[in-house]
Symmetry: C2
Subunit: 158 residues, 2 copies
Amino acid sequence: MKILVAVDESEESMHALMWTIDHHLVSANEIDSLVVLHVQKPLELYAYPIGPAVYASAVVIDSVKKAQQQDSEELLIRVKEICRNKRIESHTVIIDGDPKEIICQTIDQMNIDLVVLGSRGQGMIKRALLGSVSDYCAHHANCPVLIVRPRKEQEQRS
Amino acid sequence: MKILVAVDESEESMHALMWTIDHHLVSANEIDSLVVLHVQKPLELYAYPIGPAVYASAVVIDSVKKAQQQDSEELLIRVKEICRNKRIESHTVIIDGDPKEIICQTIDQMNIDLVVLGSRGQGMIKRALLGSVSDYCAHHANCPVLIVRPRKEQEQRS
């Protein structure tokens, strides 16, 4: 079974990855069965937030781009470390685009059998965004979708 | 891992059960790890469809009740047969009530680790109903939710 886990900076997506590994959905003997995908939102969303009159200089764009790339790489280093500790082989991918569309495209392109998504993002707005990603994938992904939410007692504690 | 699969009369829910077994989410060595739940909608929904002036006689109610019970039992006999063929132990349960609420309650009461739901019901209206069950559970169930939809090519064929 080829499993895709989509991760972002949220603890919820890391929890989803850990849940997938801890419940033996990926076994240590299988190679290339776990793909971890991080989707980077297009830079324009950060560089030109409001209206046509706001322009970011090339230096600013370059700096934001570098920071974003660094964050993504650090995230996937953390993912690799988690997998290594659990003796699981993982293939990590970073793609730019709209998360919900990229996830569905990747499922088709890589012949994924199961996609795992964490539920609840970081802040209120990002939570709504991440929620809408899992809702979209539950209806449009061309494979079964596993939505992992922290248990209620964990939510209450956090 | 204790898995709950909710089934109704739809082929999609049987597909979800088969997918769960075929992808080794339940192993043949584990006892009591697969619970198959069928929720019977309350009889009032069938007996009194429109307005207060429509009454069903006791004989009619009794007859509908018996037919519903028989359908449920036949469904779970089919489930048991599928599981037996795959050498999987299953525990089957029939409960009356609202499917989405009963599924969430059963998860709490039986300490379920993962709930599996088929997506798309039988007719257009039932599909909408079943869809709303998986949407509700994805947001309210106190455990990870796996939504299994047939692949696009299977949908096109059917």
